[in-house]
Each structure stands twice: as structure tokens, then as C-alpha cells.
Symmetry: C2
Subunit: 366 residues, 2 copies
């Protein structure tokens, strides 16, 4: 009989946590038991999974006793605190927060791109940032066939990237705007920041906090994570990446205007790139100008795939191309990618922590 | 006594036409008389200018008798038909449509960038495309100080770029979406196209029709117009430009994520670029991450200036930089730039057609 797993979802009541439960229900992971964990504030809420009702519990270190798999999306500080405790108790954690992503002992995995990195996990696997995931899925077939030297990306990111509260704020602001009332911003662009601005009918060129060099942390995530996913080294100079991240008044699904340069000397026609993408894992090519066919957020929302269109050559810069990439930031950008990592761990018989004590020492809070 | 001018606004009832009247009222152009022209459908509407009420008249060739200056924003086919008739009658036309922009006898002018091109006008001066104008205004001080070899731009363009009807459609769709009704699209992305898609809470990577190479006409406008404005040659290879144009659910003010490379060998620090922009004509630098200060469409709407922020170096590609540019597409992107051209024509004593008959032959409909 196939092994069955005790699964916990940490941050079960958030926009991503809810989708982790839904994606887990649709997955091929044999689930023996499910535990839904959140803060004390959300404890007591009811949720359903595969026809059964579950009650959300407050997360405590002991919550992870007997758990095989943790899907975590409750914020960096929660992951920092609880995941070492889970690992200590033998659970493998797939973490959707940024906290462990750059830890060299933590594989940063997109199953279509670098599933082999799972082999070195020590109890924690990180889910990359939403905007990174859809970009590397789209670049992967081009990377394999022609090489990719340089990426210059401008993002169009949905409000739900800031969680359910960001999404709610956008819709409330939009209603107020249409009613000719003043818009009230309390969450976006960054909840903890000093200033908040309306997103409805506006654009906010700030996602996450600013670093000293004028880039936002979101932009640096795209740069470092892309390097780590393709080369397992956040400082790899084999692929140059630069980004501008912008929040747009869309509830779900990020758009990305991706300009990329194939490896020096490689020859690629637009149709070869389109074919590689059409055949690529997790990808749907939607690219027919004659039919006005191109990816749109409202069509991508609720789907697991990454959609690519507007593939064109920059004729003045041979070897450089554009593409327009859209994917559901809560699914492929978060919940589905996490569950897909878990499926891959099961498939590769890697859903176990070899030395929980050593891993706890490695990951524990300082 | 300073000369006074008889002015006509062609397309007086549109989003841009209304703003041309407002900007003309605020300008230093001595207006002797004003004629408001539109289609027969709009004839009879009342509008005010400098405290007086005017009645919109149906445009006919004879409407331009005795007119010195025409501000035109009624669509390419209207300009094609009427502007040669106006020129024949001695009027200088500032045309906001794309129809004459690439005509080598027609200066394509942004007063902060290439006012000298006005000297060769033969009766028609073209106002560039909205997305081009704000980008070249922002690039101009960098171009002058360091040279600019290459531009890679992704746009975030407002619904009003498709006119008042595009703006209205966005707000109607947003209201329906919030009421959980199906959104009805009839205008965007391109009124004359076979398919229409909702823009509210969505992104449309199509502005204007598609060309054979997969670029939209809007993207080609940015490419060719930028070359013509900086080098008076739409094929100039002295500045390489490539673009992806995306319509976003914002009513007014375009955003642009501009990545640019200064001339080979030029050394530019971020602070030198910031200073050049802060000192540049028509520009406001809004660039202080510590104060979360950056340009936003809701703040730029109603203003004549172009706002620039998020200036950063791409450290992996020396000599390359990002900036985020926002401006009111109906003002600097259209009505104000047109009125500003007219002010410049007055100032340079160029508001006359030297050989109306020859100009008519040059511009008349085939």
C-alpha cells in the first residue's frame, strides 16, 4: 500500500493558505490527516477538505508532532519561528515565505525548472516569489534550447500579492472612487511602511520595502531568486537579471513584460521560441495577433498554467526578444507551486528529514 | 500691438479637444476669435472659453477661412481630409493624430526636446503619440548630458488614451464587476477591431492594431517617433528603441518603465542622472525611496509636467539605468503639448504658411 501522509497547512486562513488546501485536495498526494494551523485570532474557523469539515487550530510547536508535510504561508516571522520546530519533529516544510529562500541549505524550487535541487533539502524547501516563478517557467524552454544571458523585466503585479487584505482594499477603494468618495489606503503598497497609497485606478511602483540602492526588495527577489533557480547560486553572473516591479489595480494574476537576450551567438527565430514555449512544461502559448490572442489576467485567474504571448524579436538588437507572461499569482505563484513541490517530493521519495536534530540546529532561530 | 490670432479647435468635444480649449485659455497665445469644430453629431453643443460661451459648429472646408491656427484632435481620417483644406486657407495646423507624423515635411515636436524642428514646417506640425512624448521629455536631459544609445520601454497606459469612450467604458466595467455583473466591452482594446475585452481589473497587452511583425502600431509609434524627435529621421540607428505597450485600468496618466543605456563610454552616476532630470525642462523629479516618493498616475493627472522617479543603475550592465515616468496623457501627452507647440510657433514668429498652395499640393488627399 502506498504511504499516506499527515499534512499541516500553516497560515490556513489566508488567500494562499486557502488555495493550498484546495490544491492539496486536487493533488495526487495521499493525505492521511490534515491539520489547519493559524494564529489564535483565526482558530476555531471551519474549513472543508475532500468533503470533510476541519477546525482551524492555533499553531504551536507541538502542533507538528507526527506531521510529515507542512505547507506554510503565514509570513516570514511565523516560518522563522515554527518551521525549525516542525523540522525537529521530522516534518518536511514547503515554505511560501521569503524567509529561508536564500539559505544555501534550502532548495528554491519550481518543479518545471529545477526539481533536481530537491535532492539536497534538509527539511525545508522554499517556494520562490510569485513574480519569479512565472518568469522562470516561461524562460525555461528558451534557457534549455538557446541559453539566456540577460533578462530585463517590468512587472504588473496584482493586489492579492499583498494577501487577501490587499485584494479587499483594492475593491473597497474602487467602490469609493466610483461613488466619488475619498479612497482610504491602509495596506498597500507595504502594510508596515509609513505611507499608504490607493491602488484603485492608480499604479504603485513599490512592492515590498526599498533597499539602499533604490531597488525594492521585490525587485531583488526576482534578481537573486532567478539566479539561484537556474544556477543554484544567488550571485551567478551566468544570467544577468534586472527588474522594475509595479503594483497594478488587478485582483489576481501578475503580468510581466519580459525582455531577454539568448546566449551569445545562439540563433533563434521567433517561431522556434514560440514552439519551445508551446511545448514547455506548465506553459500555454497564447500568441496569435491575427485573433487578438494574448494572455490576460482575468483569463489566467484560477488556472495552474503560465500563459505566454506577444513573442517578438527586437530587430535592432539581434538575439533579443520580448514576451508577455501572465499567471495566477496565488496558484502557480504560490499555492499550486508549493503543492507541486510536495508532489515531487513524494514522487522522488524525498518526503523525510534524514537528521531532524542537525536540521533543527541548522535552521533554528538565533 | 502684439498680433492676435483666429484659432479653431477641430474635434472640440473629445477628451483631448476639451483639454485643448482649457490649455489654450491658460496659454499666453493672444486669441482674437475661437471656432469650435466637430462632426455634425456634436454641432450645437455649448462650451465656454475665457468666460464666453461658444457653440460647436460642424467642420467644413470653409470653416477654416481666416483661421490662423488649428488645434486638431478628431482622428486621423478627419485630419487627412481637413488639414490640407486649412493649410490651403493659410492656417497652421498642430495635429494630435498620427496621420501626418511620419511625413518628412511635417515636424514632429516636443517643445522641451526639438523646438528647432518647427522651422521647417509647411503648415502642419504633428503632436507625437502620448506615450512617446513623456518618454522623450524624461530622456532629453540624459540625452544631452550623456547620450542615449538604447531604450527598452514597457508602458502602463491609461484608458483615456482611447478617448473619453475608453475612459467611460473602464468605469462602467468596474462598476459592473463590483456589482458582480458581467463586464461589457465594446471599445477597448481597439474600437475597430474584431474583439473587445474588459480592461477593468485586467491588463490588455494590445494598444492599436497589430503589424505583421507582431508589434502593435502603438509600439512602432514609440520606436519611430523617438528616432524622428531626437534625430529627425524615423530610421535613425543612432538611438535604438523597442517597446511593449500595455493598457492598464487607470483612467488618466500613463506610466512607463524605461530602461536605457547611455552612450558607449559615458560615465553617469545615478545622482548625476537625477540632477539632470531635476533640472530638465518640463520635468519634476519625484525620487526619494526613504519617503516612499515616486510618481503615481493619480497625482500626475491634471498636471502639465512629466514626473520621474525610481532612477537606479543596473549594476550588472554598466551604463544602463531604469526610471519610472508618469504624465497626464491628455495634457502633456496631447492637449498641452499641442498648445505648447502653438506658443512656440508664436514666439518664433512661425505661425504662418509661406506658400499655402504648394503646401496644399504637398498634403492634399490622394
Amino acid at each position: 500500500m502506498a504511504k499516506e501522509y499527515n499534512v499541516a497547512i500553516l497560515g490556513a486562513t489566508g488567500a494562499v493558505g486557502n488555495r493550498m488546501r484546495e490544491q492539496l485536495a486536487l493533488s495526487n498526494i495521499p493525505v492521511k490527516s490534515l491539520k489547519l494551523l493559524a494564529t489564535s485570532r483565526s482558530a476555531g474557523q471551519k474549513q472543508t477538505f475532500r468533503g470533510q469539515t476541519y477546525i482551524v487550530e492555533e499553531a504551536k510547536p507541538e502542533s507538528f508532532e507526527g506531521i510529515d508535510l507542512v505547507l506554510s504561508s503565514a509570513g516570514g516571522s511565523v516560518s522563522k519561528h515554527f518551521l525549525p520546530e516542525a523540522v525537529k519533529r521530522g516534518a518536511v516544510c514547503v515554505d511560501n515565505t521569503s524567509y529561508f529562500r536564500m539559505n544555501p541549505s534550502v532548495p528554491l524550487v519550481v518543479p518545471e525548472v529545477n526539481p533536481q535541487a530537491l535532492s539536497y533539502h534538509k527539511g525545508i524547501v522554499s517556494d520562490p516569489n510569485c513574480s519569479t516563478i512565472q518568469m522562470v517557467v516561461a524562460l525555461k524552454p528558451v534557457f534549455d534550447k538557446f541559453g539566456v544571458d540577460k533578462v530585463i523585466v517590468s512587472t504588473y503585479q496584482a493586489a492579492s500579492g499583498a494577501g487577501q487584505s490587499g485584494w479587499n482594499e483594492l475593491e473597497k477603494e474602487a467602490a469609493d472612487y466610483l461613488d466619488k468618495k475619498e479612497m482610504q489606503a491602509n495596506i498597500l503598497p507595504v502594510k508596515s511602511a509609513a505611507k499608504h497609497y490607493p491602488l484603485a485606478f492608480n499604479l504603485l511602483p513599490q512592492i515590498d520595502v526599498f533597499e539602499d540602492d533604490g531597488y525594492t526588495h521585490e525587485e531583488w527577489k526576482m534578481i537573486h531568486e532567478t539566479k539561484k533557480i537556474f544556477f543554484d547560486d544567488m550571485n551567478s553572473d551566468k544570467i544577468k537579471v534586472t527588474a522594475t516591479s509595479v503594483r497594478v489595480p488587478v485582483p489576481v494574476s501578475h503580468g510581466e513584460s519580459v525582455y531577454f537576450q539568448v546566449a551569445d551567438g545562439a540563433e533563434a527565430s521567433v517561431s522556434e521560441i514560440q514552439k519551445a514555449i508551446a511545448d514547455g512544461a506548465g506553459l500555454v502559448l497564447q500568441d496569435d495577433p491575427s485573433q487578438q490572442l494574448y494572455p490576460q489576467p482575468i483569463n489566467a485567474a484560477g488556472k495552474r498554467e503560465t500563459f505566454v504571448g506577444r513573442v517578438r524579436a527586437d530587430n535592432e538588437n539581434p538575439g533579443s526578444y520580448w514576451m508577455w507572461v501572465v499567471s495566477d499569482n496565488l496558484l502557480k505563484g504560490a499555492a499550486w507551486n508549493a503543492v507541486q513541490i510536495a508532489e515531487e517530493l513524494v514522487k522522488r521519495d524525498l518526503l523525510h528529514v534524514d537528521d531532524p536534530k542537525a536540521s533543527y540546529e541548522l535552521f533554528k532561530e538565533n
